[in-house]
Protein backbone atom coordinates (compact mmCIF):
# COMPACT_ATOMS: atom_id res chain seq x y z
CA UNK A 1 0.00 0.00 0.00
CA UNK A 2 1.29 0.58 -0.80
CA UNK A 3 0.63 5.50 -2.58
CA UNK A 4 1.25 7.99 -5.25
CA UNK A 5 -0.08 11.48 -5.96
CA UNK A 6 -0.32 11.45 -9.58
CA UNK A 7 0.88 7.98 -9.91
CA UNK A 8 4.10 9.64 -9.11
CA UNK A 9 3.67 10.39 -5.48
CA UNK A 10 3.76 6.74 -4.76
CA UNK A 11 3.03 7.43 -1.19
CA UNK A 12 0.97 4.75 0.27
CA UNK A 13 1.08 6.33 3.64
CA UNK A 14 1.01 3.98 6.51
CA UNK A 15 1.68 4.42 10.12
CA UNK A 16 0.23 1.64 12.15
CA UNK A 17 -0.50 -1.97 11.61
CA UNK A 18 -3.01 -3.36 13.98
CA UNK A 19 -4.92 -6.44 12.99
CA UNK A 20 -8.46 -6.86 14.16
CA UNK A 21 -9.17 -9.34 16.88
CA UNK A 22 -12.80 -10.32 17.34
CA UNK A 23 -12.99 -10.16 21.08
CA UNK A 24 -15.59 -8.70 23.37
CA UNK A 25 -15.54 -5.31 25.02
CA UNK A 26 -16.06 -6.46 28.55
CA UNK A 27 -13.59 -7.82 31.09
CA UNK A 28 -9.97 -7.63 30.09
CA UNK A 29 -10.88 -6.13 26.73
CA UNK A 30 -12.67 -3.15 28.16
CA UNK A 31 -11.03 0.25 27.70
CA UNK A 32 -8.58 0.89 30.54
CA UNK A 33 -9.77 2.86 33.52
CA UNK A 34 -8.17 6.21 33.81
CA UNK A 35 -5.99 6.74 36.82
CA UNK A 36 -4.49 9.59 38.72
CA UNK A 37 -5.48 13.07 39.72
CA UNK A 38 -7.31 15.66 37.63
CA UNK A 39 -3.94 17.25 36.95
CA UNK A 40 -2.60 13.94 35.68
CA UNK A 41 -5.65 13.51 33.48
CA UNK A 42 -5.21 16.99 32.10
CA UNK A 43 -1.57 16.31 31.27
CA UNK A 44 -2.56 12.99 29.72
CA UNK A 45 -5.18 14.66 27.55
CA UNK A 46 -2.65 17.22 26.37
CA UNK A 47 -0.29 14.40 25.48
CA UNK A 48 -3.10 12.60 23.65
CA UNK A 49 -3.72 15.67 21.52
CA UNK A 50 -0.10 15.47 20.41
CA UNK A 51 -0.51 11.80 19.60
CA UNK A 52 -3.74 12.57 17.71
CA UNK A 53 -1.98 15.22 15.63
CA UNK A 54 0.35 12.50 14.34
CA UNK A 55 -2.26 9.78 13.87
CA UNK A 56 -4.30 12.06 11.65
CA UNK A 57 -1.39 13.19 9.50
CA UNK A 58 -1.65 11.78 5.94
CA UNK A 59 1.41 9.64 6.59
CA UNK A 60 -0.70 7.68 9.07
CA UNK A 61 -4.32 8.13 8.18
CA UNK A 62 -3.97 7.30 4.49
CA UNK A 63 -3.86 3.66 5.52
CA UNK A 64 -6.42 3.97 8.30
CA UNK A 65 -9.29 4.39 5.89
CA UNK A 66 -12.91 3.37 6.26
CA UNK A 67 -13.02 2.32 2.63
CA UNK A 68 -12.03 -0.59 0.43
CA UNK A 69 -8.87 1.15 -0.69
CA UNK A 70 -5.90 3.10 0.65
CA UNK A 71 -5.30 6.76 0.05
CA UNK A 72 -2.13 8.57 -0.90
CA UNK A 73 -0.32 11.88 -0.74
CA UNK A 74 -1.08 14.91 1.37
CA UNK A 75 -4.44 15.48 -0.31
CA UNK A 76 -5.42 11.92 0.69
CA UNK A 77 -6.80 10.98 -2.72
CA UNK A 78 -7.69 7.40 -3.58
CA UNK A 79 -4.66 5.23 -4.32
CA UNK A 80 -4.12 5.03 -8.06
CA UNK A 81 -4.11 1.86 -10.20
CA UNK A 82 -7.35 0.51 -8.74
CA UNK A 83 -5.60 -0.81 -5.65
CA UNK A 84 -8.05 -2.43 -3.24
CA UNK A 85 -7.86 -3.51 0.39
CA UNK A 86 -8.20 -7.28 -0.05
CA UNK A 87 -9.15 -9.74 2.68
CA UNK A 88 -6.08 -9.16 4.86
CA UNK A 89 -5.45 -5.49 4.08
CA UNK A 90 -2.57 -6.43 1.79
CA UNK A 91 -4.26 -6.16 -1.59
CA UNK A 92 -5.38 -9.00 -3.86
CA UNK A 93 -3.39 -11.78 -5.56
CA UNK A 94 -2.04 -9.99 -8.64
CA UNK A 95 -2.16 -6.56 -7.05
CA UNK A 96 -0.75 -6.82 -3.56
CA UNK A 97 0.82 -3.90 -1.72
CA UNK A 98 4.19 -5.57 -2.18
CA UNK A 99 3.78 -5.47 -5.94
CA UNK A 100 5.35 -2.03 -5.55
CA UNK A 101 6.12 -1.42 -1.87
CA UNK A 102 9.33 -3.18 -0.95
CA UNK A 103 11.20 -3.51 2.35
CA UNK A 104 12.62 0.01 2.14
CA UNK A 105 11.97 3.29 0.39
CA UNK A 106 12.90 3.27 -3.28
CA UNK A 107 14.03 6.82 -3.78
CA UNK A 108 15.12 6.21 -7.37
CA UNK A 109 11.57 5.35 -8.37
CA UNK A 110 9.62 7.27 -5.72
CA UNK A 111 7.90 4.29 -4.14
CA UNK A 112 7.80 4.25 -0.33
CA UNK A 113 8.53 0.99 1.38
CA UNK A 114 8.88 -0.74 4.73
CA UNK A 115 8.46 -4.24 6.08
CA UNK A 116 5.03 -5.81 5.57
CA UNK A 117 3.34 -2.85 3.90
CA UNK A 118 -0.42 -3.06 4.44
CA UNK A 119 -3.57 -1.26 5.43
CA UNK A 120 -4.75 -0.99 9.00
CA UNK A 121 -7.89 -3.06 9.64
CA UNK A 122 -11.27 -1.40 9.38
CA UNK A 123 -11.59 -1.56 13.18
CA UNK A 124 -8.79 0.99 13.25
CA UNK A 125 -10.37 3.38 10.74
CA UNK A 126 -9.73 6.97 11.71
CA UNK A 127 -11.93 8.58 9.12
CA UNK A 128 -15.48 8.10 7.94
CA UNK A 129 -16.76 6.90 4.58
CA UNK A 130 -16.64 10.48 3.30
CA UNK A 131 -12.95 10.70 4.21
CA UNK A 132 -13.67 13.07 7.07
CA UNK A 133 -11.18 12.59 9.88
CA UNK A 134 -12.81 11.31 13.07
CA UNK A 135 -12.72 13.49 16.15
CA UNK A 136 -10.05 13.25 18.78
CA UNK A 137 -12.50 11.53 21.14
CA UNK A 138 -13.57 9.00 18.52
CA UNK A 139 -10.03 8.07 17.53
CA UNK A 140 -9.01 7.85 21.19
CA UNK A 141 -11.89 5.50 21.98
CA UNK A 142 -10.98 3.28 19.02
CA UNK A 143 -7.30 3.21 19.87
CA UNK A 144 -7.97 2.24 23.48
CA UNK A 145 -10.67 -0.33 22.73
CA UNK A 146 -8.93 -3.68 23.03
CA UNK A 147 -11.68 -5.33 20.99
CA UNK A 148 -10.52 -3.17 18.08
CA UNK A 149 -6.82 -2.62 18.64
CA UNK A 150 -5.51 -6.19 18.57
CA UNK A 151 -5.90 -6.39 22.34
CA UNK A 152 -3.15 -3.88 23.10
CA UNK A 153 -3.00 -2.38 26.57
CA UNK A 154 -1.19 0.86 27.29
CA UNK A 155 2.21 -0.78 27.28
CA UNK A 156 1.34 -2.50 24.03
CA UNK A 157 0.29 0.78 22.44
CA UNK A 158 3.55 2.39 23.54
CA UNK A 159 5.57 -0.48 22.11
CA UNK A 160 3.61 -0.29 18.88
CA UNK A 161 4.33 3.41 18.49
CA UNK A 162 7.97 2.92 19.38
CA UNK A 163 8.83 -0.13 17.28
CA UNK A 164 6.33 -1.04 14.57
CA UNK A 165 8.12 -0.75 11.19
CA UNK A 166 5.27 1.05 9.47
CA UNK A 167 5.08 3.57 12.32
CA UNK A 168 8.81 4.14 12.02
CA UNK A 169 8.42 4.59 8.27
CA UNK A 170 6.01 7.47 8.82
CA UNK A 171 8.81 9.50 10.37
CA UNK A 172 11.41 8.73 7.71
CA UNK A 173 12.38 11.22 5.09
CA UNK A 174 11.72 9.87 1.60
CA UNK A 175 11.58 11.13 -1.93
CA UNK A 176 8.67 11.22 -4.34
CA UNK A 177 9.18 10.34 -7.99
CA UNK A 178 9.20 14.04 -8.88
CA UNK A 179 12.17 14.50 -6.58
CA UNK A 180 10.33 16.38 -3.86
CA UNK A 181 10.38 15.14 -0.29
CA UNK A 182 7.33 13.70 1.43
CA UNK A 183 5.95 15.72 4.27
CA UNK A 184 6.53 14.49 7.80
CA UNK A 185 4.19 14.28 10.81
CA UNK A 186 4.11 17.29 13.13
CA UNK A 187 6.29 15.58 15.77
CA UNK A 188 9.63 13.81 15.62
CA UNK A 189 9.37 10.12 16.39
CA UNK A 190 11.03 10.60 19.78
CA UNK A 191 8.48 13.29 20.64
CA UNK A 192 5.64 11.05 19.48
CA UNK A 193 6.84 8.21 21.69
CA UNK A 194 7.31 10.57 24.63
CA UNK A 195 3.78 11.92 24.22
CA UNK A 196 2.43 8.38 23.99
CA UNK A 197 4.30 7.44 27.16
CA UNK A 198 2.89 10.42 29.04
CA UNK A 199 -0.62 9.57 27.84
CA UNK A 200 -0.23 5.92 28.81
CA UNK A 201 1.14 6.81 32.24
CA UNK A 202 -1.93 8.98 32.78
CA UNK A 203 -4.14 5.96 32.10
CA UNK A 204 -4.84 6.67 28.39
CA UNK A 205 -7.51 9.31 29.08
CA UNK A 206 -9.79 10.21 26.20
CA UNK A 207 -11.52 13.53 25.57
CA UNK A 208 -15.22 13.78 26.26
CA UNK A 209 -17.59 13.78 23.31
CA UNK A 210 -17.61 14.49 20.51
Amino acid sequence: MASHSNAANILLVTCTAWSATPTGVSGKNAPPKETGTPATRKAGLLAWQQVYSVLTHPRCINCHTATNYPQQSDDRHRHFANVVRGPAGKGVPALQCVACHQEANADSTGVPGAHDWHLAPLSMKWQDLNDKILSSAEVCRAVTDRSKNNNLDGAGLLKHHAEEPLVLWAFQSSRRIDGSMRTLPPLMHEEFVAATRKWVEAGTPCPQNP
Binding site: H4, A7, A81, V92, A94, L95, Q96, E103, S108, V111
Partner: protein, 154 residues
Protein backbone atom coordinates in the same frame (compact mmCIF):
# COMPACT_ATOMS: atom_id res chain seq x y z
CA UNK B 1 27.89 0.75 -9.87
CA UNK B 2 27.36 -2.46 -7.94
CA UNK B 3 27.33 -6.13 -8.82
CA UNK B 4 24.10 -8.02 -8.24
CA UNK B 5 23.49 -11.75 -8.51
CA UNK B 6 20.03 -12.31 -9.92
CA UNK B 7 18.23 -15.57 -10.57
CA UNK B 8 15.99 -15.07 -13.57
CA UNK B 9 13.82 -17.95 -14.76
CA UNK B 10 16.06 -20.31 -12.83
CA UNK B 11 19.28 -19.06 -14.37
CA UNK B 12 21.92 -17.18 -12.35
CA UNK B 13 23.08 -13.86 -13.74
CA UNK B 14 25.60 -11.26 -12.60
CA UNK B 15 24.86 -7.67 -13.52
CA UNK B 16 26.83 -4.52 -12.82
CA UNK B 17 24.45 -1.58 -12.58
CA UNK B 18 23.58 1.47 -10.51
CA UNK B 19 21.70 0.36 -7.35
CA UNK B 20 18.73 2.53 -8.23
CA UNK B 21 18.20 0.93 -11.63
CA UNK B 22 14.68 -0.48 -11.89
CA UNK B 23 14.51 -4.24 -12.35
CA UNK B 24 12.68 -3.69 -15.64
CA UNK B 25 15.72 -2.04 -17.20
CA UNK B 26 18.07 -4.66 -15.84
CA UNK B 27 15.96 -7.31 -17.55
CA UNK B 28 15.59 -5.47 -20.81
CA UNK B 29 18.91 -3.67 -21.21
CA UNK B 30 21.40 -5.82 -19.31
CA UNK B 31 19.93 -9.29 -19.81
CA UNK B 32 18.26 -8.54 -23.17
CA UNK B 33 15.00 -10.11 -22.02
CA UNK B 34 12.57 -7.84 -23.80
CA UNK B 35 9.36 -9.75 -23.18
CA UNK B 36 8.70 -7.58 -20.14
CA UNK B 37 7.42 -4.22 -21.38
CA UNK B 38 7.89 -0.62 -20.38
CA UNK B 39 4.52 1.09 -20.24
CA UNK B 40 4.28 3.99 -17.83
CA UNK B 41 7.31 3.71 -15.57
CA UNK B 42 5.26 4.53 -12.47
CA UNK B 43 3.49 1.24 -11.72
CA UNK B 44 0.24 2.54 -13.12
CA UNK B 45 -0.30 0.21 -16.08
CA UNK B 46 1.05 -3.26 -15.25
CA UNK B 47 2.89 -3.86 -18.55
CA UNK B 48 6.12 -4.49 -16.62
CA UNK B 49 4.70 -7.18 -14.32
CA UNK B 50 7.05 -10.02 -13.37
CA UNK B 51 6.99 -12.45 -10.47
CA UNK B 52 9.42 -11.63 -7.68
CA UNK B 53 9.61 -14.26 -4.98
CA UNK B 54 6.37 -15.65 -6.38
CA UNK B 55 4.50 -12.34 -6.15
CA UNK B 56 3.31 -10.31 -9.10
CA UNK B 57 5.53 -7.24 -9.01
CA UNK B 58 5.82 -4.01 -10.98
CA UNK B 59 9.41 -4.21 -12.19
CA UNK B 60 9.49 -0.59 -13.33
CA UNK B 61 9.48 0.73 -9.75
CA UNK B 62 11.59 -1.87 -7.94
CA UNK B 63 15.25 -0.87 -7.78
CA UNK B 64 17.59 -3.77 -8.33
CA UNK B 65 19.10 -3.06 -4.92
CA UNK B 66 15.85 -4.17 -3.26
CA UNK B 67 15.48 -7.46 -5.15
CA UNK B 68 17.71 -9.42 -2.78
CA UNK B 69 17.85 -13.16 -3.35
CA UNK B 70 14.27 -13.52 -4.47
CA UNK B 71 13.67 -15.51 -7.64
CA UNK B 72 12.62 -13.50 -10.69
CA UNK B 73 10.26 -15.08 -13.19
CA UNK B 74 9.35 -13.37 -16.45
CA UNK B 75 7.03 -13.94 -19.38
CA UNK B 76 9.82 -15.84 -21.13
CA UNK B 77 9.34 -18.72 -18.65
CA UNK B 78 5.57 -18.98 -18.87
CA UNK B 79 5.51 -21.59 -21.63
CA UNK B 80 7.32 -23.98 -19.28
CA UNK B 81 4.99 -23.28 -16.35
CA UNK B 82 1.78 -25.37 -16.21
CA UNK B 83 -0.37 -22.41 -15.21
CA UNK B 84 1.46 -20.12 -17.60
CA UNK B 85 0.99 -22.58 -20.43
CA UNK B 86 -2.74 -22.88 -19.73
CA UNK B 87 -3.11 -19.11 -19.65
CA UNK B 88 -1.20 -18.66 -22.89
CA UNK B 89 -3.29 -21.36 -24.58
CA UNK B 90 -6.48 -19.69 -23.38
CA UNK B 91 -5.18 -16.34 -24.62
CA UNK B 92 -4.74 -17.86 -28.09
CA UNK B 93 -8.02 -19.74 -28.18
CA UNK B 94 -9.94 -16.64 -27.05
CA UNK B 95 -8.11 -14.29 -29.40
CA UNK B 96 -7.40 -12.00 -26.46
CA UNK B 97 -4.66 -9.95 -28.03
CA UNK B 98 -5.10 -6.98 -30.28
CA UNK B 99 -1.92 -4.90 -30.37
CA UNK B 100 -0.38 -7.10 -27.69
CA UNK B 101 1.85 -4.57 -25.98
CA UNK B 102 0.34 -4.99 -22.51
CA UNK B 103 -0.25 -8.70 -22.77
CA UNK B 104 2.92 -10.04 -21.19
CA UNK B 105 1.99 -8.07 -18.07
CA UNK B 106 -1.61 -9.22 -18.32
CA UNK B 107 -0.50 -12.85 -18.51
CA UNK B 108 1.90 -12.51 -15.58
CA UNK B 109 -0.90 -11.05 -13.46
CA UNK B 110 -3.37 -13.70 -14.61
CA UNK B 111 -0.93 -16.46 -13.71
CA UNK B 112 -0.36 -14.93 -10.26
CA UNK B 113 -4.11 -14.77 -9.75
CA UNK B 114 -4.71 -18.39 -10.78
CA UNK B 115 -1.86 -19.70 -8.65
CA UNK B 116 -3.41 -18.02 -5.63
CA UNK B 117 -7.07 -18.42 -6.57
CA UNK B 118 -7.59 -21.40 -8.90
CA UNK B 119 -11.28 -20.67 -9.46
CA UNK B 120 -11.57 -16.88 -9.45
CA UNK B 121 -14.91 -15.09 -9.48
CA UNK B 122 -15.60 -12.10 -11.67
CA UNK B 123 -14.85 -9.90 -8.67
CA UNK B 124 -11.54 -11.68 -8.06
CA UNK B 125 -10.59 -11.13 -11.70
CA UNK B 126 -11.67 -7.49 -11.76
CA UNK B 127 -9.82 -6.66 -8.55
CA UNK B 128 -6.64 -8.57 -9.33
CA UNK B 129 -6.42 -7.48 -12.95
CA UNK B 130 -7.69 -3.96 -12.26
CA UNK B 131 -4.20 -2.50 -12.27
CA UNK B 132 -3.34 -3.89 -15.71
CA UNK B 133 -4.43 -1.48 -18.40
CA UNK B 134 -5.15 -2.42 -22.02
CA UNK B 135 -5.70 0.44 -24.42
CA UNK B 136 -7.20 -1.95 -26.96
CA UNK B 137 -9.94 -2.74 -24.47
CA UNK B 138 -9.54 -6.51 -24.41
CA UNK B 139 -10.82 -6.78 -20.85
CA UNK B 140 -13.85 -8.95 -21.63
CA UNK B 141 -11.74 -11.46 -23.51
CA UNK B 142 -9.12 -11.42 -20.76
CA UNK B 143 -11.77 -12.32 -18.21
CA UNK B 144 -13.12 -15.15 -20.34
CA UNK B 145 -9.64 -16.48 -21.04
CA UNK B 146 -8.81 -16.55 -17.32
CA UNK B 147 -11.97 -18.54 -16.68
CA UNK B 148 -11.08 -20.91 -19.50
CA UNK B 149 -7.58 -21.41 -18.13
CA UNK B 150 -9.08 -22.10 -14.72
CA UNK B 151 -11.29 -24.80 -16.22
CA UNK B 152 -8.36 -26.24 -18.14
CA UNK B 153 -6.31 -26.53 -14.96
CA UNK B 154 -8.96 -28.43 -12.98
Amino acid sequence: METYKLTVNGQPNDVIVDPGTPLLWVLREELKMTGTKYGCGIAACGACTVHLGGMATRSCVVPVSLVGNRAIVTIEAMAQDPVGRAVQDAWVSHDVVQCGYCQSGQIMSAVALLKSTPEPTDTNIEESMGGNLCRCGTYVRIREAIKAASQQLK
